[in-house]
Symmetry: C2
């Protein structure tokens, strides 16, 4: 075969109508979004303002500034654009080289270089401190406000129920829940603590407070920081993969998300604070990285800090620093070098210890649900554990499908226009149904904590209402299996009702315009199911210990089944089904129990749950929301197995207009300006000449515009028909032609190329691993076309039989 | 500027004299290496033989077989060559596609596809089981043989001291070390248990046994499996980064390494079994992966299994599954997708639980050194912890420098010619010096265990010989700080001597021709130093608790300082200094103690130790040994910060002969055969014509040879002056010319290219992330030269002022 006809020149599409759609969509999301570049609301001094303006937060309003800066040090990106990882990395290496060579000049420069090298650790320390503090404050505030729905402390209204009774002297351990200083609303308002009218009054107050909290939260989010809604993890994943969403991690978002998180959790809605805490920690990370030019001026380096911040967020959410690091590695991060691993670990530890020194749970424990079990598990129990895994997988599938369907409905129908009303309605329904049932009335984390607990001798919970053998005296911790009492049977009914309620309401809650995490609701669903299965197995084993399946390991009088362990396994299974976490899930759970002993049940359930859920659809909830929103996220976990080639994906396609290219030394300034005006591509390949089509480089649109504007203003003799050249030497021109314009500085001389025969799986791999924005396609040295990240994502969507137009941004 | 003159054609160097050197070096290492392709020594059946021959172990002897196979399904690599990760990945995708499309054809194919999908988990399960079992067997055997140096059990000679006394009925807890059934050699041989002559006899027997064990070990290694020597981690790192060393993970190596590991650890040499256990586990991984064609036929997939096996190895070495996974991720692995993370975790857990069910330590504990401390640490203690970190860093630097210098001496002088004598001599010296000192006589892990332990009430160790206050009665666990007794002072002297001895002897031991790990010796050095510092601080605090630094936290009668914790911190610091592990080190230590409480001291020491050691040289011991041996290892951690461009690195250099290229349709078979004969490059770029130099693809040497041989044998009309063409259509030829030979099938149509202006930091990044073997350099579509992995490594060595010729292999 001959090498092929001169490649037909066709158009690229790296910045087309999808872009417009994208902007509109996010504007819609953020109708009254405040100007994040106005930091005077938050910081007193001007120095932060100027640093922030120069770096992270610089919106499009700053475009004029750059023209005054020494050209061509531009290197920032527009909002809703993808960053070029290779370029960011090489810019950082340049910076590093400059500092290293300078450091040999004087002592002062040497100290500056040391400070620069240390700034990474300083940022981590600051993130850890702030994230830990915020988490502690949130915990304390939630505690108080949740109790506020029930009553108030007479000695000081800012005391929660427990603190109130703790400070009261008369309290003994047994009736710590009843102390005179703590007054229910009925006691306070009508001086009645029992009876129907007191119950109704308390019920009403509970609903009223819930509605107030929810209304406040949704209004704050709408007015001040629309980005504060949701769990934030899908967007953080997208940002970490190299996408710019300005303001998403801004200071306003941080402030409003922290405040509203307290409000919504206290309102009793079926949501958790764990996901949003990751968002909060990432906002802290973004804030501190904007203080150091090493991070504020480099989008790649900034993302390293954000990865570590995500680890710190999970670390404080669960008190699990190692789990947090693995969560960041497995779930959230995209580019995670080993250096970041080590720093993440540091940030996670600092955050955990800060939280512990605030001690919001009053038990000196790092972890949210501290459990200690006294009996081992037995092989035969693996069967119910795997059943719980299946349940978790099914719940995950059900939840993701229904939630996505509902969110799509919210996006496309009138429903989305009344977010405040929606929140109010859901809160009202939640409060009305939740109050009568003791398992839904209290906060979800308390519920999970109770379900995880083993029934010790001192346990007063209804779930531990077993019939004791009066003849037996035993050590406190090793209580044998006993027949269930009335309380347990009541609890089972209530748990079943609570389970159904939680399953339904969580689907409608997640995705509303308020901060909402789903770790805790998912765990609650699993823990309820698990506890019920656990009690079932326990009673079966007690009453039928002669059955062959029990005979070997469960003799009468032995403590064989721990229902709390079942609850924990169920929680892991459900969380795994929804998020598809694996290692990090098991490690977080391991850090909760602190014993390797129970890793095998947890792992069995997590694996089963993932397999069952994956059988119905590969996407976890975060990926599903990313797709729903059309973010340009190239998942590392998706395997691309189709047989297509680069030539099938590149633009221009057959029959499309030719690719817009620049020539190295024959176009005039006017030609280029026309081309820029008429197209909206992010950049243009530069070729030797239109005939040979041999590629010499790539020029970014943004930098071309700046360079021409700059030259027209400052350089003499540059007029519209000046020749623009990208070569080292000016081209030979007729004597009377105007002064030519040299633009070699904006030319990227090492554009990434692949041949047209390259399999798409390789191209996808290259885009993923090198973090490219675009890649040029050549055949035998001739330029044929261009593939952008968006083209790759669209192609992948098409191959997976999805709508390629769902990919919105560049 | 014009696009440049037609590129001068110069030679590539991707397979030159360094190769020869490399072969010689490894032959030297393995002079009597048995044929690893002869598995009849190990497996009874023939089916394994055939599978193994087809896959993993196929040595160069199999070259003839491939010609009979359907061409061009070659896809294997020669020994001591680098694999092409992208190609391996795309081959696996092809295989996967084939299976998926077949699975729709029939039920049987569907089941086969399911089995294929499950085979990864099956391999992990098998690796876990075998690695756990081997670790258990090694532990038991070491226990017995270490005791054999002191005496023998009369009831059954295969009982260790502890087992012997355990079975004896008369033993009470206090004198469990003295039971009539256990006889020292002096008692057995001359019926004397006390006195000088008995001591000398026992001393002699101790030395004799040690020499016997060491001699056996070194002989076995030399005769049967020379690859079984050393810790194996540098080689495994190299293999995982994509290098082929046939037989390094073979069944012989597995068998011999397991046996000799027992021997050398029992001989009392200053080495540990942890590193070699990783090698053993990787051998298991290689063995099981050779049973499944998915892994045996794909070098990339096989490395995923090996990464998981490494995790299982560390998991059983320390009883730390999570630490094992992180070790594999941080230290050993190169390509570690998330799927592998999950599977590694599974393998590590299975291995840990297998080991626990064997229960070699008799305490149902997973971990080697189980510790429980009862007191928290105080802020002021951070100072001695950081001091220990500095000590660890200095020790790491000292050890690496001296050990590398000694190993280089061994390589270059006569010393290397007498490995048996060297081992015998070092063993003799070790035994002679070690016996008199109780802290070096016993096995190193027992020593570490004792040093880590807190002094409880029942502790009989000399280290716990404190002067008790007779008036005080206290609970067992919370003993206040007391003045040191005579025993402690003696112990301090002995520990100091033992410390110096360990430091010196370990330098000479690591790197001998026996299996040797250095985790345990490093930890011992740190633990001894740490315990001494701990006791020092404790006594200082006891005697001077009015000093300002102690006043705030250490009142008289309080238990403030835990010397065992200092030992643990010291161990972590020294291990960190030598290996430069960070997260995995802290996590392994965390799994040993099981409490988040002590992570901060460990982390402080680990960070300090790494910083101090890094200040003297960036390389850890494994990287240093990789460099010493000249393996082609492209470290992910090294940052390349120089300003060079691809054009500075590519071959041919200025003034060198032209690059050997093939043209697409103008060379005859004879031309190509001559080119192949005269050069030894691994492959040749294919261009349109010598004039235009426009690149169309790349052909591998190996596949060209096979294709031509194949064509000459089977295809009619192929003679020496047949034209070879790589295009789709044959070129137009004169009427009487011979039949042309089409070779498009061996042409890689998507060779990786960069432009000559690409910064080397980007090129290095591409080589690392995509795992390339070579990359072609173009300018404006014209081929200029080639960069191989070796060129990159040489360039990096040159930039770091090292000898570029130290890189040996391709």
């Amino acid at each position: 075969m001959e090498v092929g006809p001169p490649a037909p020149v066709r158009p690229s599409d790296n910045h087309s109508h999808g872009q417009q759609l994208g902007y509109n969509l996010l504007r819609d999301l953020a109708p009254e979004r405040p100007n994040d570049t106005a930091p005077e609301f938050l910081t007193p001094g001007n120095w932060v303002t100027s640093m922030v303006n120069a770096g992270a937060m610089s919106g499009s309003g700053n475009l004029m500034d750059f023209l005054d800066e020494p050209f061509p040090d531009v290197g920032t990106y527009e909002d809703f654009h993808t960053i070029d990882w290779l370029r960011e990395k090489s810019r950082d290496t340049d910076r590093h080289r400059k500092i290293t060579s300078k450091s040999k000049e004087s002592i002062w420069e040497f100290i500056k270089s040391l400070l620069d090298a240390w700034s990474g650790w300083v940022v981590m320390l600051l993130i850890g401190l702030l994230a830990g503090t915020l988490a502690g404050v949130i915990d304390l505030a939630v505690d108080w406000m949740t109790d506020l729905k029930e009553g108030v402390c007479l000695s000081a209204f800012w005391y929660s129920h427990e603190q109130c009774c703790w400070t009261s002297n008369e309290t003994t351990f047994e009736d710590r829940d009843k102390c005179p200083l703590w007054q229910k609303w009925s006691e306070l308002l009508v001086n009645q603590s029992e009876g129907a009218s007191a119950y109704i009054l308390n019920y009403l107050m509970y609903i009223l407070w819930a509605l107030l909290f929810a209304f406040l939260a949704v209004s704050l989010v709408r007015v001040f920081a629309p980005y504060a809604c949701g769990s934030g993890i899908p967007e953080i994943k997208t940002i970490l993969s190299g996408f710019i969403i300005r303001g998403y991690l801004g200071k306003w978002t941080l402030l409003i998300k922290t405040v509203t998180l307290v409000l919504v959790v206290s309102s009793g809605l079926s949501l958790g604070k764990e996901g949003p805490l990751v968002h909060v920690a990432c906002c802290c990370g973004n804030f501190f990285s904007s203080l150091f030019s090493k991070y504020s001026k480099n989008e790649g380096k900034r993302r390293e800090v954000l990865s570590a911040a995500a680890a710190a967020g999970v670390s404080v959410a669960f008190g699990a620093p190692i789990g947090g690091v693995l969560f960041s590695l497995e779930e959230v991060s995209y580019y995670f070098p080993l250096k970041t691993l080590w720093r993440s670990f540091f940030a996670a530890l600092v955050a955990a210890f800060t939280l512990r020194s605030i001690n919001p749970f009053g038990n000196s424990r790092l972890v949210l649900f501290y459990v200690e079990y006294h009996t081992p598990w037995y092989m035969a129990e693996l069967f119910p554990f795997i059943l719980l895994g299946v349940f978790g997988g099914l719940w995950g599938t059900l939840f993701i499908r229904c939630n996505i369907a509902w969110c799509r409905r919210r996006k496309t129908t009138k429903l989305g226009k009344y977010p405040v009303l929606e929140v109010i309605a859901v809160t009202a329904i939640t409060a009305i149904i939740a109050y009568p049932n003791p398992y839904t009335r209290r906060s979800t984390s308390e519920l999970i904590s109770e379900l995880f607990n083993d029934c010790g001798a001192l346990e007063s919970s209804q779930l531990c209402d077993y019939i004791n053998d009066p003849n037996m005296t035993r050590p406190v911790d090793d209580i044998p299996d006993r027949p269930a009492g009335v309380g347990v049977y009541t609890a089972m009914w209530q748990l079943a009702l609570a389970l159904i309620f939680k399953i339904v309401i969580t689907i409608f809650t997640f995705g509303m315009k308020i901060p909402s995490g789903l770790f805790i609701p998912s765990m609650a669903v699993g823990a309820m199911a698990g506890r019920m299965v656990g009690i079932g197995v326990e009673q079966l084993a007690y009453h039928h210990h002669d059955w062959i399946i029990f005979r070997n390991w469960c003799r009468p009088g032995a403590d064989c089944v721990t229902p709390g362990l079942y609850a924990m396994v169920g929680a892991a299974a459900c969380l795994g089904g929804v998020t598809r976490m694996t290692v990090s899930l098991v490690v977080i759970m391991f850090e909760l129990t602190g014993g390797l002993e129970y890793i095998v049940p947890l792992m069995a359930a997590a694996v089963t749950s993932k397999w069952v859920a994956d059988a119905f659809g590969k996407e976890g909830i975060y990926e599903a929301h990313i797709h729903l929103n059309g973010y340009p996220f190239l998942d590392v976990k998706d395997e691309f197995t189709h047989r297509t080639l680069a030539t099938d994906v590149m633009r221009p396609r057959r029959g499309e207009p030719p690719l817009s290219v620049l020539t190295q030394d024959s176009m005039t300034v006017e030609d280029v300006e026309t081309l820029i005006k008429e197209t909206d591509y992010n950049g243009f390949p530069v070729v030797v000449s239109r005939d040979s089509e041999r590629l010499i480089g790539f020029a970014q649109r943004r930098e071309l515009i700046l360079a021409i504007k700059n030259a027209r203003q400052r350089q003499e003799g540059i007029v519209s028909n000046s020749i623009m050249y990208f070569t080292e030497e000016p081209p030979e021109l007729p004597a009377n032609s105007p002064h030519p314009l040299k633009l070699r500085r904006v030319l990227n001389l090492s554009p990434f190329t692949v041949t047209d025969h390259t399999p798409m799986e390789t191209v996808v791999d290259i885009f993923r691993k090198l973090g490219l924005r675009q890649c040029l396609v050549t055949r035998s040295g001739r330029l044929l076309g261009i593939i952008t990240k968006k083209d790759v994502l669209r192609h992948m969507a098409q191959m997976a039989n999805q709508d390629p137009e769902s990919i919105m941004f560049n």
